[in-house]
Every structure is written in structure tokens, then in C-alpha cells.
């Protein structure tokens, strides 16, 4: 699980071009979206939907489904563990 979380952080930094950020800067249970978290926006959410599909074989229907899953690294990793097809 720790490995998956770290992998996820690196992927998020890469896919969302968070150049000034390091994996250890992202706290496992901190919100990813909004001003309190990483400040990600709606386009980032769509990119994360693509990442889920491309790297873990998980197809999400729309952005609102993504919202619940992309709460934090913890929630995301947990969802991937349970649903991944690759």
C-alpha cells in the first residue's frame, strides 16, 4: 500500500506538471483539490480520470464520480487496490 501511494504521488506530480513539488510534500490524507490541498482544478480531475484508466484499467463515468475518489492519496490508493484491472 505504501508503495502504491508513493507511486501515485509521483504519477500525479508528473501528469499534472507539479514541477515544484516532491512526493514527500504530499500528505497522505490531505485534500488534493481546493485551496487547502494541492489546489488542483477541474482539468486536473479529468487528467486523473485518464490516469486511472491508462495505468490501472479503471473506467470512471464522469467527473462527479471522480470527485469522491480523488479526495486524498489515501482514498485514491484504497479505491485503486479494490478496483484495478491492471
Amino acid at each position: 500500500m505504501e508503495e502504491l501511494k508513493n507511486e501515485l504521488k509521483l504519477k500525479i506530480i508528473d501528469v499534472l506538471n507539479l514541477v515544484d513539488l516532491k512526493a514527500e510534500d504530499i500528505v497522505d490524507d490531505a485534500p488534493l483539490f481546493g485551496d487547502l490541498g494541492l489546489g488542483l482544478d477541474s482539468i486536473d480531475a479529468l487528467e486523473l480520470i485518464l490516469l486511472m484508466e491508462k495505468d490501472y484499467g479503471i473506467k470512471l463515468k464522469d467527473a462527479s464520480e471522480g470527485k469522491a475518489i480523488f479526495q486524498s492519496i489515501n482514498v485514491m490508493a484504497d479505491y485503486i487496490m479494490k478496483n484495478r484491472t491492471r
Binding site: 477541474s42 482539468i43 479529468l46 487528467e47 485518464l50
Partner: protein, 576 residues
């Protein structure tokens, strides 16, 4: 700006619903639509899509001789049908300007080149303009036409618009989860996205009317484009503002003190995405138009992108001439937080004016007010060209960036790195506090960095200003990013359309990025030219500065043909 008036003397629509504006209007009034479910496999996208598409075999373009792309042929066909109705206009005259409205044109080709080919087909040798302002292009092109006439530089302007749907655009909108597989339902509680569409349309604008123009005016009346405005949300490059900021501001500027009670209807963008329609309901209500009927046409045509602003204006004109408010096909039950007066079926009206709205990616919004006037009352009011409409520009600050180096107000700036690394180096040295920079495509990075150097030279500027416009020009539109995007959808095994790449394939996003960073609510627009022409750039900017409410422009040349090949020559200027 109160120069010469802008009359609309001829128009044409070519769409899946028919050839000619009147036939299109009849079909719309009868509730017909060309929206159908199309196979995704057919064009190489992952899901089927609902769209209103033209048939290349039967759209009439087969009769156009010569080496033209389908996009160019559709424009030529539509323009020739419109010009046929305005036989007194000699299109080869240097008092005639061609303006093309397109979001993507020929993917992989150059929009400026297409525009020149279309103008040349009609013997016109004036440098044509291409307005590529995402979904609002069709209204921006009309506003540009009004300004060109007002300045006295041109007597007639041919405005034409089109877009061709393809794997590129369909996959991009799918990646944004913006498409509905059902016929779209504008402002309805069950709306779940937009449909794409294809069409070509033309509007011929004139400020000089011979007697035959009055004679051919329907019912002795003639259309006037009264006022138009473009405003930015200064909020987000793809998400509409939650307060309807830019749309509300554009609407307010376009209406001025025009009484709401005299409007037959508001013709909104009404794409049927959750956020667009919600945003427009807020903007319309904020502008105190909540009781004015609303009529939207995406349920008949889908979103025809570069043609949308023209088609929807023309359908609205026909409707007002016939004392009707078209129905909003697909609407059943209110689904926006500020309920509007919408009906799915046509209603009568006795009013002679309407206002047209559009909103688009890059946070841009446009509104134009149109009035059907008594031709006799305007006869003779077409005064001589306004001689004083040519103030020259005062350049306050100027920046030049190319792979060879950076110069700000004539002084070289220390920055290193090859090609695109140069832009990152400038960002690190001089800016550093805006990590969104790393998300931008090469064109946006260039324009953003240049604008930051300009605003730093300027010093403190008021927050939230509406009096500054951002107006940029280039040759390659978003060619560099188009190639990057095409790589993400290159084949069945490599099909992961990326929304963050797709959004930057709209060249006007760079103007939105600058507006967001600086909280500029003023006009933002992007023009594509066949080649750099500083006189054209200066004229367009001077005409923008003639608008009330616009005091200064951050603008200029912003060209990026590949990540390592770019040139920005941008400035902050005002009218002398």
C-alpha cells in the same frame, strides 16, 4: 465608438438542415433537427457521439473548382451565396474586408492561409482577418466587422465561419466529458452535455447602402448591429465563472441603456452543458433580463463552433422579421438556478431587437445587440467616413522574446537556455510564484512570460480592471500543441485523449491565462494572420481602443510554431 453604422445586408446558412437562411429558419421553426448518433469507430474515437454533420457528397461543395480543402470550400460556397444577394458589392474592391471565424479550421493547416484563399477566390487582395476565439469567434468576427466599418477603413465586410468535425475535436470534447450521447437539452433539468455540429454561414456587413439595398430590405426594414462587447471571466481557462462574470459584463456593455422591454428575446450560447447553462442563467438574471424570453438553437444544430455565432444570429434575425421567438428544442423543465422564460415551442413577439450571447474556453464571453430598423429612417444617415477615427498608438512598454534572447523596453535581459528552456529560465528568474506556468503549452508560456515582463515594467496596476484588453496575433495558431494532442490519439493502442493538452489547442487560451493572472475582466481576443503585418495589428488594436471602456491594450505578436521556434513582440499601449 460612434462611427458609421453597421448594416447587415445579406446572409447565408449551409447546414444539414438545408441550404439558405430561409430554409434553415423554416426547419427550425418546424422543430426539425439533424442531430443523429454517429459511430465512434468510424472516425477513430472510443465512444459513439451525437452530432449534426454535413454530407461531403451532397453539401454542394463538389461544384467548387480548384485546390481547396473542404473547410475552404464550405466557406467559399456560403460566401458566394450570400454575395449573390448583395449584387451591388464588388468583392474585389479594397474597401471590402473578409473576416473568417473558426475555432480549428483545417487541423494541421494554417487558418490564415485558408482565409487568404477564400478572399482570393472572390478576387479580394486585402489581408483577411481570422478570429479564433474558441466558441465565441462568430460574435467576435461580427464585432470586428462593426469596428472596421466604423473606422471608415472599409465599406463592406464579409464575415464567414465554419468548422469541420473530426476525431481531433470529438475526442477532445469526449476527454472533457462534455458530450451528451442524446440530443442535447439546453437549460433543462436533465441536460448532460453538448452535441457537436457542422455548418458554414456568412453575414455581409455594410455601412454604405445603395438604393437597391433599401429596395431588397424585407418589409422595408434593415438590420443594424448596434453594439457588441467582449469580456473575460478572469477565472479559469475551461470552467465557466460561477457568477457569470464575463457574460454579465459583456451583456451590460452591449445593452447600454437599451430597455429590456424592447427585446424580443435573448439568444444565449445554451450548449446544454451543466455549467454553461447555469452560468448564463446567472449572467442574464444579473443583467436584469430575467423576464425576457430566451431562445437557444443548439438542439437543432449542435455546437457548430466557428459557425455558431453566425448561424444563431441569422436564425434570430429571420425569427424577429417573422415576429416569432423560436422554440428551444430539447428544453422541457427548468434546470438552472435562476429560472428563465424558455419554451420548447415557438411564440409570437412584436419586438424588433434581440441580443446574442456566446461564451467559450479561455474565459471569453461576447454579446451583441441587433435591431431591425425602418430602412427609410436610416436612409441618408450614413454619414461620410469618420476622419478622426485614426488615433495612433502610444507604446508604454515593449518586450521581445525569441530563442536568441530577451529584450525589455530596449534593454537586453539576462536569461539563458536553449529553445523552450529559455522561457522556463525567464519564469524562474523573473516570476517564480505561479506554478500554473508548468501546466501551460509552449504558446501560453511564451505569451504569459512576455505579459509578466510587461506588467512588471509597468509597476502596480489596479486589480480587477475591465479597461484593459488583451489582443494577440500570430500565424500558426496553436499548431505546436495540435501536434502534441494528435500524438495522444494516434491509434487504437495509443488512444488517451488528454484534456489538459486539448484545451491548449485553442490559441486564445493564452489571452485567458493573462486575464486570469492579472484579473483583467476586459476584452480578450486572438487573431490569426497569413503573415505578420504590423499595420493590420495596429489597426485592429486601435479599433478596439475606440470602444468606450477600453483604455489600454496588452497585445502584439505571439507566435510559436514549435516548442523551440517562437517569437513574441508584445507591448502595452494606449491611444494617443
Amino acid at each position: 465608438m460612434k462611427g458609421r453604422p453597421a448594416y447587415i445586408v445579406a446572409d447565408n446558412i449551409i447546414s444539414p438542415l438545408g441550404t439558405g437562411s430561409s430554409e434553415n429558419y423554416r426547419r427550425v421553426l418546424a422543430g426539425e433537427s439533424a442531430l443523429r448518433l454517429h459511430s465512434g469507430v468510424g472516425i477513430g474515437v472510443s465512444e459513439d457521439y451525437q452530432a449534426s454533420l454535413m454530407d461531403e457528397e451532397s453539401d454542394g461543395t463538389g461544384m467548387i473548382p480548384g485546390d481547396y480543402t473542404l473547410f475552404e470550400k464550405r466557406l467559399i460556397l456560403s460566401v458566394s451565396k450570400a454575395l449573390y444577394k448583395a449584387g451591388w458589392i464588388e468583392p474585389s474592391s479594397d474597401k471590402v474586408l473578409f473576416i473568417v471565424s473558426s475555432t480549428k479550421g483545417n487541423i494541421g493547416g494554417l487558418l490564415g492561409e485558408s482565409a487568404r484563399k477564400v478572399a482570393r477566390f472572390f478576387g479580394n487582395k486585402v489581408s483577411p482577418l481570422v478570429v479564433s476565439n474558441a466558441c465565441i469567434s462568430g460574435l467576435c468576427a461580427q464585432i470586428e466587422a462593426m469596428r472596421a466599418l466604423s473606422s471608415g477603413r472599409f465599406d463592406h465586410v464579409v464575415v464567414c465561419g465554419s468548422d469541420i468535425q473530426s476525431k481531433f475535436i470529438v475526442s477532445g470534447f469526449q476527454s472533457f466529458k462534455a458530450l451528451s450521447q442524446q440530443p442535447c437539452r439546453p437549460f433543462d433539468s436533465s441536460r448532460d452535455g453538448l452535441n457537436l455540429g457542422e455548418a458554414a454561414a456568412t453575414m455581409v456587413y455594410s455601412s454604405v447602402l445603395p438604393d437597391e439595398a433599401y429596395a431588397s430590405a424585407p418589409g422595408g426594414k434593415i438590420w443594424i448591429a448596434e453594439r457588441g462587447a467582449i469580456r473575460n471571466d478572469a477565472n479559469h481557462i475551461s470552467g465557466p465563472s460561477r457568477t457569470g462574470e464575463g457574460s454579465y459584463r459583456a451583456l451590460k456593455a452591449a445593452l447600454g441603456d437599451f430597455p429590456a422591454a424592447d427585446l424580443a428575446f435573448v439568444n444565449p450560447h445554451g450548449t446544454a452543458t451543466l455549467y454553461n447553462d447555469e452560468m448564463e442563467s446567472i449572467a442574464i438574471t444579473r443583467a436584469c433580463l430575467g423576464s425576457v424570453p430566451v431562445a437557444g438553437y443548439k438542439g437543432y444544430y449542435g455546437h457548430t463552433m466557428g459557425a455558431a455565432g453566425l448561424i444563431e444570429t441569422i436564425i434570430s434575425m429571420r425569427a424577429v422579421e417573422n415576429h416569432m421567438i423560436p422554440g428551444t428544442r430539447g428544453f422541457n423543465q427548468n434546470g438552472v438556478s435562476c429560472p428563465l422564460d424558455i419554451s420548447s415551442s415557438p411564440r409570437p413577439t412584436d419586438k424588433d431587437s434581440f441580443v446574442k450571447l456566446l461564451s467559450g474556453f479561455g474565459g471569453c464571453n461576447a454579446a451583441v445587440l441587433f435591431t431591425l430598423a425602418d430602412a427609410h429612417s436610416v436612409a441618408g444617415s450614413q454619414s461620410a467616413p469618420v476622419a478622426s477615427a485614426h488615433p495612433s498608438l502610444e507604446y508604454l512598454h515593449r518586450v521581445h522574446i525569441s530563442p536568441d534572447g530577451v529584450e525589455l523596453d530596449g534593454e537586453p535581459l539576462e536569461a539563458g537556455g536553449n529553445g523552450e528552456e529559455l522561457l522556463t529560465d525567464i519564469y524562474r528568474r523573473c516570476i517564480g510564484d505561479y506554478p500554473k506556468f508548468y501546466k501551460m503549452d509552449p504558446l501560453c508560456r511564451l505569451g504569459f512570460v512576455a505579459s509578466e515582463l510587461l506588467t512588471s515594467a509597468e509597476g502596480k496596476s489596479p486589480e480587477g480592471r475591465e479597461d484593459r484588453a488583451v489582443i494577440l496575433f500570430n500565424r500558426s495558431a496553436s499548431l505546436a500543441d495540435d501536434r502534441i494532442y494528435l500524438d495522444t490519439v494516434s491509434g487504437p493502442d495509443n488512444y488517451f485523449p488528454s484534456p489538459k493538452v486539448f484545451v491548449y489547442t485553442l490559441p486564445n487560451i493564452v489571452t485567458g491565462e493573462i486575464a486570469i493572472r492579472n484579473k483583467y475582466y476586459g476584452e480578450t481576443s486572438f487573431h490569426v494572420l497569413d503573415e505578420r503585418d504590423d499595420e493590420v495589428i495596429e489597426n485592429v488594436i486601435m479599433q478596439a481602443l475606440a470602444e468606450p471602456g477600453t483604455e489600454s491594450v496588452l497585445g502584439g505578436w505571439c507566435e510559436c510554431s514549435s516548442p523551440d521556434d517562437f517569437e513574441a513582440d508584445m507591448f502595452i499601449c494606449k491611444a494617443l
